[in-house]
Amino acid sequence: MGQTILKAADIKKVFPGVVALDGVRIEIERGEVHALLGENGAGKSTFLKILAGAQPSDGGVMVFDGQTLDPADTPMARQRLGIVTIYQEFNLLPAMTIAENMYLGREPLRRNGLIDWRRMYRDAKTVIDELGLDLDPRMPVRVLSVAEQQMVEISKALTMNARLIIMDEPTAALSGKEVDKLHAIIHGLRAKGISIIYVTHRLVEVAAVCDRFTVFRDGRYVDTRAVQGSTMQDMVRLMVGRDVEFQRRRDRFAGERVMLEVRGVSRAGNLADPHACVLTDLSVQVRAGEIVGFAGLVGAGRTELARVIFGADGCDSGVIVVDGKVTPIRNPGDAIAAGIALVPEDRKQQGCFLPHSIRHNMSLPSLKRLSKWRFFVDETGERALIADYTRKLGIRMANDEVAIGTLSGGNQQKVLLARCMALHPKVLIVDEPTRGIDVGAKAEVHQVLFEMAKAGVAVIVISSELPEVMAVSDRIVTFREGRITGSLPAEDATEEGLMSLMALGGPPVGGPVGGPIGAAATAHVHAAH
């Protein structure tokens, strides 16, 4: 301890239209476990990519072990220096053995240039034993559990003589027992003088395993503190404490009529699909004219519930009631027929037909209404509809034959909103409606949502940006690990309060929160089998 291994200062990164990192810094000591904290979009991932050599920075200096890092380094070059990243999605080849994966591209060779298999398996076994793992290096990676694969990644890092290991959300897919095991290994690595940058949303783990933490917020450095003497509430406060950039809405349109009711939606995990997170007994009501915000960390169940409501994913049990009628929804077609519309989370992957015209993009689900002679598209009606919504939403384009891919993000989003509005839905779900679009367009998108509510539509807004959720919603529902942890009127919501419900599962209290969170962490059954 006491000796600095990594010192990064004034790191900048600019993407077109967005400043992702605005001069962040961090200092890591030898043999330290250092947590990097921040909300979604705070700049953690961007910083880690720059550190790993996956992206060049646009400014700043990084000194690793007394040596200034070349910004043009490739990930390979950084690994050779001893900076190794373990990503959330592992980089293992399932069909190869543990040892083959550990030494991939660096296989020990015999003098004649062929691979020295005996030495490779012997060395691999040594590293695995050192970590106290019970694994045979000849096993193919494919048969390992997620936790075991992670151990292989760590073993691999050790074979590279890693001196700084970056772990990005290492426990996102682990069960409680596996988390404990990982932490034991981390303690071991620390004792060997290896430093670790530990990125997580789970503050309990920071308290359990880390020495210090650094907080980023909106691409800026906020503070570095010792874990000892800090409470989780301190961490939350540092993560969210920023100016509210949206004006809170004053007028309310919520009526009495319940437009959407979700009763007891549950889903067991799915090993084949790590994104199909466990949902436990979710129930929500949304009234006509009401805007309900879904808040939660990525993977907490907010998007997942929306996709179940829309029929994009299945669920094991639960009932969906639309406008007082129990409605079986097996696919998005059923949902649209029942009056539910969704603007999906990923505009480009799930929403747009990028090379196709704005006209085709906007009218697609409404074509049933816009048809003549049963099979044909009524192009006159179609163009009228497009002109109508283009005007209403202020979509800026040369003409409606232009490919939607050429529009700005904000205008693309408006086209997708128009697509949903043209369906005259009873329920509108918008997932990350303003992600990656500029401030002006954000306000315009919000205005559209208000208009929809005013017209009596039940609106669900999902957003990772708490200020946005608080600004647009009448009521906010918080999610954590597939459960609903709270539902409160927007007037009563504070960022800290919401963050506590999202990250800790309970309302904010003075001291460090103890037992119940630890228990909830154990209940995370993603990859347990």
């Binding site: 949902a335 992957q349 990028l354 697609l364 048809s371 003409n399």
Partner: protein
């Protein structure tokens, strides 16, 4: 090049602004057509018979057979799929139809034997297409693999049916569909015209056409707009199967016999027509107009090379090179679009 790219996004510009000419964009639109014209002129100059009415009619009739299937193939490739089994299905349908007609006896169908053969051939095409589509969507097997299997399965079935021997002996009503004409226009050409026009209208003006483009353009987004993606996928294989059956019947009528090895390597010619015509193998972009030009190009090329006494072996090399070039260009143009 980049200046042209920025022009198109200038929404605030007055609409009637002279546009910079982008070579790649121009070639993407008119390159094949220009190549076709150049080829015709070159062949016409080097071989006086090439531009004779008789030869041109010949080319068109030849083009019709696979051009009909290429219309269906366009739909398949628009969804991002491919069908390698069309050549085998074509032979299977033709042989089955011919077998029934000749074995039952021409008189049994009141002189309408051709109709029976036509229906059987189309029915077999439709059924095999349905099997392909269902296998692709139910078991999530790539279309390439399913139809590659289909290609040998249906060819095998065809060879088994009559021990590999051709079936001949059709009546005049049957042969009219391959050799007859209406006002001087060969019947297969007329059929192609009807099929292509129908394909154009369906893709351009119907809801179903929009769905095909949507499924190919972005299957996940298509699903989230309520489109029944598997149903659309099955339907395009049914269409191409039906058209392969139709083409098989016409080919047997034209040759005067249904042959078990008919249509071998047609899949290549058909896919080449579609791809040269500018339909993207990635799906979602393209159309019938381009496919027809692509089919004509291949017909002219093959015929011209024969007229110039080029070895048939060398023709195969030319075909292969053109297909690879067309796809390489498509990929390049797509990459450039993505960069903007």
């Amino acid at each position: 090049m980049t200046t042209a790219a920025t022009v198109s996004t200038g929404a605030t510009e007055p609409p009637k602004k002279p546009r910079n000419i982008d070579v790649v964009q121009f070639l993407e639109k008119y390159g094949v057509l220009m190549f076709l014209i150049v080829l015709c002129v070159a062949f016409g100059m080097s071989s006086p018979n090439f531009l004779s009415v008789r030869n041109l009619t010949n080319i068109l009739t030849e083009v019709s057979i696979y051009g009909i299937v290429a219309v269906g193939m366009t739909c398949v490739i628009l969804t991002g799929g491919v069908d390698l089994a069309v050549g085998s299905v074509l032979a299977f349908g033709a042989l089955a139809g011919a077998w029934v007609v000749t074995n039952v006896g021409a008189g049994a169908f009141f002189g309408m034997g051709f109709l029976v053969a036509l229906l059987i051939s189309c029915a077999i095409g439709t059924l095999t297409g349905y099997i392909h589509g269902k296998t692709i969507t139910l078991f999530n097997v790539p279309p390439f693999i399913v139809t590659l299997g289909g290609m040998t399965i249906w060819r095998g079935a065809t060879l088994m049916m009559n021990d590999g021997a051709p079936i001949a002996g059709f009546d005049a009503g049957y042969r009219w569909w391959g050799r007859g004409d209406v006002l001087g226009i060969p019947v297969p050409v007329l059929v192609l015209f009807v099929v292509a026009a129908a394909g154009y209208v369906v893709l351009r003006y119907t809801r179903y056409g929009r769905q095909i483009y949507a499924v190919g353009g972005n299957p996940e987004a298509a699903r989230l707009t309520g489109i029944n993606v598997p149903r659309v996928l099955v339907s395009v294989y049914v269409i191409v199967g039906f058209l392969a059956g139709l083409a098989g019947f016409l080919l047997s009528a034209r040759l005067g016999s249904a042959e078990a090895i008919a249509g071998s390597s047609y899949e290549l010619r058909i896919i080449a027509s579609v791809v040269i015509g500018g339909t993207s193998l990635f799906g979602g972009m393209g159309g019938i107009g381009g496919t027809m030009i692509g089919a004509l190009l291949i017909g002219v090329l093959l015929n011209g090379l024969v007229m110039m006494n080029v070895s048939p072996y060398f023709q195969q090399i030319v075909m292969g090179v053109i297909i690879v070039l067309a796809v390489a260009f498509d990929t390049y143009a797509k990459m450039r679009r993505g960069k903007r």
